[in-house]
């Protein structure tokens, strides 16, 4: 597979944006070397212990330098009730589709562009920010992304800029003539005191398998706020790997929620560095998986300075032979006194063959901290189920109500008006499918 991806690079080379930029050509070359040196991660790696990428190796992925012209859709499926109020970017098979996108009117101090355009407009600014949060740690998928990134989005808010409407990024996969692999690359830079809401929606329009290997770098300056929400509803033959690396300055705030219903295999990895006093992050998520799906949520949080807070709650429902993974690493560095770090994984196992692997990992080098972790896994509450049924509610509906309530508590925490109903609807559809409703 490593070989195949390296060949993709050859096929893509002439189409990759920014070829006239030596710094970028260097960056890509280094990425490709790191990837070919290490190969795909395997379960022998501690951080990939529960997630094997072998299923990816069984698909003969191609890379596509130029988008197929014939993909025709009227409009992209927005998660927001009033999509005209948002700034929307649409990608089909990883390629930016200006005809489906509407960037809208941005306030002064705000810039939102596809990566390719940003490279053309202001490559120097990009050189100063791109790949700055990518550390030396061996992360082959990020190295691969860096080598082959074709497009993505760049959001930059200057000091004090507040975006009144959300940015919605929609990815549609599966439209290719063959299974495609692509590597979206995103950059979010919020300067001091700025605020934005970013919503990502991954879905599909064709029948083909695809591999989406996304990497988003997020830098949140002093007192700035990023609300970052994502619904991954990719096709059930798709592979979704997404990594977010975020760095928070003083009193900065990052509120993240990832909901997973799609993909044959998915991994959401969030790596957050709380680098300024008073920085605060929420890394929350929900997932509903069944069949042979595999869903991995991995978080790594570094508390680097005093008085930082992180709260993580991941709740999921696992049916059939599906498997979920939660890995939560929390590292409190020596100076990071008064750290407040909590993580919780709660899974509902709806079948005997369903599986959750929850691995909390706490490394604490400061002495005055409050940290906790917890993991629960179990069936639906039998007493509650009987109570509902004793009131006339048929079992399948009673089960749905309890599952919806279990996940709804997480969804209610999302601070983006208009998004919660869309997420509840997608839960409702999943449950209706489970019940076999027409």
């Amino acid at each position: 597979m490593t070989q195949a991806f390296s060949e993709h690079f050859g096929a893509l080379q002439d189409h990759l944006p920014g070829q006239d930029l030596p710094w970028l050509t260097d960056l890509r070359a280094r990425g490709l070397k790191r990837f070919t040196d290490s190969g795909l991660p395997t379960p022998r790696w501690e951080s990939w212990k529960y997630t094997s990428l072998r299923p990816i190796e069984k698909v003969d992925f191609a890379a596509e330098g130029v988008p197929r012209a014939c993909v025709s859709i009227d409009r992209a499926p927005s998660l927001l009730p009033d999509a005209t109020e948002s700034h929307r970017l649409v990608f089909v098979d990883g390629h930016f589709r200006s005809d489906l996108s509407s960037l809208g009117t941005l306030p002064k101090g705000a810039s939102l562009l596809p990566l390719s355009e940003q490279l053309a407009n202001d490559p120097d600014w990009l050189a100063g920010h791109l790949d700055h949060l990518n550390d030396a740690a061996a992360q082959p998928m990020l190295a691969l992304n860096t080598a082959m990134m074709m497009n993505g989005f760049v959001l930059h808010l200057e000091r004090g800029t507040i975006l009144p409407h959300p940015v919605e990024v929609i990815h549609l996969g599966g439209a290719g003539a063959a299974p495609l692999a692509y590597h979206p690359r995103n950059l979010v830079i919020l300067d001091e005191g700025s605020q934005a809401t970013l919503i990502e929606h991954f879905s599909h329009i064709g029948e083909q398998a695809y591999l989406n290997n996304a990497f988003t770098e997020v830098s949140i300056g002093q007192g700035a706020i990023l609300r970052h929400y994502k619904l991954q509803a990719d096709a059930l033959n798709a592979f979704h790997l997404a990594t977010v690396k975020a760095e928070l300055g003083r009193d900065a705030s990052y509120d993240s929620f990832v909901m997973t219903t799609g993909a044959r295999l998915s991994r959401n990895e969030a790596s957050v560095r709380l680098a300024g006093e008073g920085a605060n992050c929420h890394l929350n998520g929900a997932y509903l998986v069944r069949g042979e799906q595999h869903c991995d949520n991995t978080t790594v949080v570094d508390h680097l300075v005093p008085n930082t807070t992180c709260r993580e709650v991941f709740k999921g429902v696992i049916d059939d032979r599906a498997r979920a993974v939660f890995q939560g690493k929390l590292k409190v560095h020596r100076d990071a006194q008064q750290t407040n770090g909590h993580q919780l994984s709660k899974a509902l196992l709806l079948s005997d063959k369903a599986e959750i692997d929850a691995k909390p990992e706490l490394e604490i080098y400061a002495d005055d901290v409050v940290c906790s972790h917890g993991a629960t896994a179990g069936d639906l509450d039998h007493d509650a189920l009987f109570y509902l049924r004793a009131r006339g509610i048929p079992e399948a509906l009673a089960r749905s109500m309890l599952i919806e309530a279990f996940l709804g508590e997480s969804i209610d925490q999302i601070a983006a008006e208009g998004l919660c109903p869309a997420l509840m609807t997608s839960i409702g559809h999943w449950l209706a499918d489970t019940r076999g409703d027409a």
């Binding site: 509450d381 039998h382 007493d383 509650a384 009987f386 109570y387 509902l388 049924r389 004793a390 009131r391 006339g392 509610i393 048929p394 079992e395 509906l397 009673a398 109500m401 309890l402 919806e404 309530a405 279990f406 709804g408 508590e409």
Partner: protein, 249 residues
């Protein structure tokens, strides 16, 4: 309406009910009294179909249909209602959603049209007003953070909304202050009519001052030891259950 014939039931492999015979006609209120551990709650769970409470012998006919062959929700659809001794807390499900889903499920079962949101709200408002229950209770998650009295009031409200033919009240008086007791008794009495029947399970005679029974049965050792009129309840209040627990041993 309800005919229980030679009902035996086991819980965790242990026989708890050892041959119960009981017939309740429409319009009647029967009370089952008995000491702790006599099988009172087991009877209520066997009647409503709780998992783990299996009838090993005998039969139960409800309006001529074999109740024991039905799922719990089908029994509710037929018109059996259990007021729980310990109402269950269900986080994340608003009380009003629960009531509406339950009512419409029962209506679907009966082949009636579902109520839309407006019709439902109107109907529930009438019931809460009638029972003197605050609407605020409808917005909260089912029984979550409710006091003992609120939970029992909520059971009464569910009963009023679902309008069952047969209400089984399992130790509804336990842990209730006098006001809550009156609310519950009030809701039971509102339901009382020539077409409806009640089975009131209680340890104490107190509730029976508000819900006056037609028949009183003493359950001990898994069998009905004695049956009589409402005066039997007063007798038990004075003498206790010593006579029956002795007989059962």
């Amino acid at each position: 309406m309800l005919e229980i014939k030679n009902l035996h039931a086991t819980v965790d492999g242990k026989e708890i009910l050892k041959g119960i015979d009981l017939t309740i006609a429409p319009g009647e209120v029967h009370a089952i009294m008995g000491p702790n551990g006599s099988g009172k709650s087991t009877l209520s769970y066997v009647l409503t179909g709780r998992e783990g409470y299996e009838a090993s012998e005998g039969e139960v006919l409800f309006k001529g249909k074999n109740l024991l062959d039905m799922e719990p929700d089908e029994r509710a659809g037929e018109g059996v209602f259990l007021a729980f001794q310990y109402p269950v807390e269900i986080p994340g499900v608003p009380n009003t959603t629960f009531l509406k889903e339950a009512l419409n499920a029962v209506r679907r079962y009966r082949g009636e049209d579902e109520l839309d949101a407006m019709q439902f709200v109107k109907m529930v408002r009438e019931k809460t007003k009638l029972l003197g229950i605050s609407d605020e209770m409808l917005k909260r998650a089912v029984n979550v953070g409710f006091s003992g009295g609120e939970k029992k009031r909520n059971e009464a409200l569910q009963m009023a909304v679902l309008e069952p033919c047969l209400a089984v009240l399992d130790e509804t008086d336990s842990g209730l202050d006098i006001d809550a007791l009156k609310t519950v008794a009030n809701s039971v009495n509102l339901l009382r009519g020539p077409e409806n029947a009640m089975l009131v399970i209680t340890h104490y005679q107190r509730l029976l001052e508000y819900i006056v029974p037609d028949r009183v049965h003493v359950l001990a050792g898994g069998r009905i030891q004695r049956s009589g009129g409402k005066e039997l309840a007063h007798e038990l209040e004075e003498k206790g259950y010593a006579e029956f627990t002795g007989a059962a041993a």
